[in-house]
Symmetry: C2
Subunit: 324 residues, 2 copies
Amino acid sequence: VQLCGIAGTCPPPMPEPATVAVFAGDHGVHAQGVTPWPQEVTAQMVANLLRGGAAVNALGRQVGARVVVVDVGVAADLDGAPGLFERKVRRGTRDMTVAPAMTRSEAVAALEVGIEVARELYADGSRCLLTGDMGIANTTPSAALIAAFTGRPAVQVTGRGTGVDDAMLRHKVDVVTRALTRAESRVGSWADHAAARDALSTLAELGGLEHAALAGFVLGAAALRVPVVLDGVIAGSAALVAHALSPPSVGYCIAGHRSAEPGHAVALAALGLRPLVDLDLRLGEGSGAALALPLVQSSARILREMATFDSAGVTDKVVTQEEG
Amino acid sequence: VQLCGIAGTCPPPMPEPATVAVFAGDHGVHAQGVTPWPQEVTAQMVANLLRGGAAVNALGRQVGARVVVVDVGVAADLDGAPGLFERKVRRGTRDMTVAPAMTRSEAVAALEVGIEVARELYADGSRCLLTGDMGIANTTPSAALIAAFTGRPAVQVTGRGTGVDDAMLRHKVDVVTRALTRAESRVGSWADHAAARDALSTLAELGGLEHAALAGFVLGAAALRVPVVLDGVIAGSAALVAHALSPPSVGYCIAGHRSAEPGHAVALAALGLRPLVDLDLRLGEGSGAALALPLVQSSARILREMATFDSAGVTDKVVTQEEG
């Protein structure tokens, strides 16, 4: 039903070919020690993605989705490669505990990267867009955005990301809380969801460049009337931004999966989205969206290809008194 | 990990090509008015399946699985067709409320049909087997089998099947209860799971021919060391039979999905299986197994194709005091 609504026709067109866009960026808040991974892993994993060695590459091959990488903010110079969109807005964000992560114009530029990538993939034939992300420390700004847009305290929406132990998790919650407090002093309290009134400022204060681009990607997909399959907590936090900027955009979003990050369930509930896959995964990269793609395509195919009882010559059921 | 264990090698072989075997049968208990659908719909839907018009055909095309139909007990003469295995043991079961649904030798013959179909599909190249079923009224014997093998009362494991209203559901629970009481007088009480001591008698008393064949299909897949992806409540009840006959066989089973039929959750819990897809579906035919196939294949592909951090040249994480 949702696919029919998105396309404005029933049965809906097949949501294919599909492309996963992995938006990559680095994060100034990495300096606060919110992850055991060095920042250079972002660029190393981008290289791995471009070589086809990451999880989402294997999944893309399985489900028939192309994988592209968008450098919207990696803090390193990347070599050009097939499948790499070089759209760096800046080399990583600022540390959100001490300053706005982005200026408003940087946030707008990153949003526009996402919109443009959606348009270019559509122009190249894609009819289903999947979100992916790569950025060491990016669950930290995700938690901050989810807290800001839902009014929940940091402790409820901050998770272990990749390999964070108990002590580091406590520290990470503190880092998110400090960022929220700093930003609140500039854009006003979120306690009453006031942030929705200036989503762009909130995004600039707390978001990552890939979060901004992902929000734009959702808006771009919605404008193009193609479904966008969301991956995990990074996409969920970005979808909250897109929803705040344009509430109808969420109607074009399909929640690919629910990740084990606690903030993701909070974001999905706020968006009113039910995840298709729910297997305690937390890998990122777009892996959860890729796993859900066959389910999305299957639903369209059922509507397009399944015989009706009439067309198949199946005898109708006996109407009972209760129904009759 | 399960796929590696099944094959005895890591990474596991790709579970492909995959085949859905739709076991079709009719049920004497249909005479008790447990469904609004006439019995001839079974044969009509088999024809629809063989023409490629059913839901599982559309899904099979989406996920790259072949669909075959096994007539193990349809109460009608079927025309031969490509993709039809003609293995009728008898034209439907007896009414389990008044007599054993099958004799022991009929149950054994139907079990052997399932084993043979698994062997033939394997010989033809299939390396992943999916269960499907078609049989008007077949959720009724499923409920009876689940009650018998888990010791739960009929009211907890009997559901609406396809289009059963409140009054008919109350009647259906009563029918299942009467069948259990009748059978109990012959094979002894199930209250203490005694049925597990004579699974074959229990199957003969209460099962359908497709349930027996599906149990054999599971045993056959296990003997061949190929994964078998279970569909919904009919497969779940058959897997309980297979488990009772040979407990290790459940290690070869993957729960494709959890259906909305209440007995299915009970069966999966008893089997210790976690469903891959959980979307309140209740369509049968093998549809839930087909939807799960890409997830199963994706897991094998990840193990086979994903780079390690070593091979991708990714810097190791910093070991913290807590871990060090």
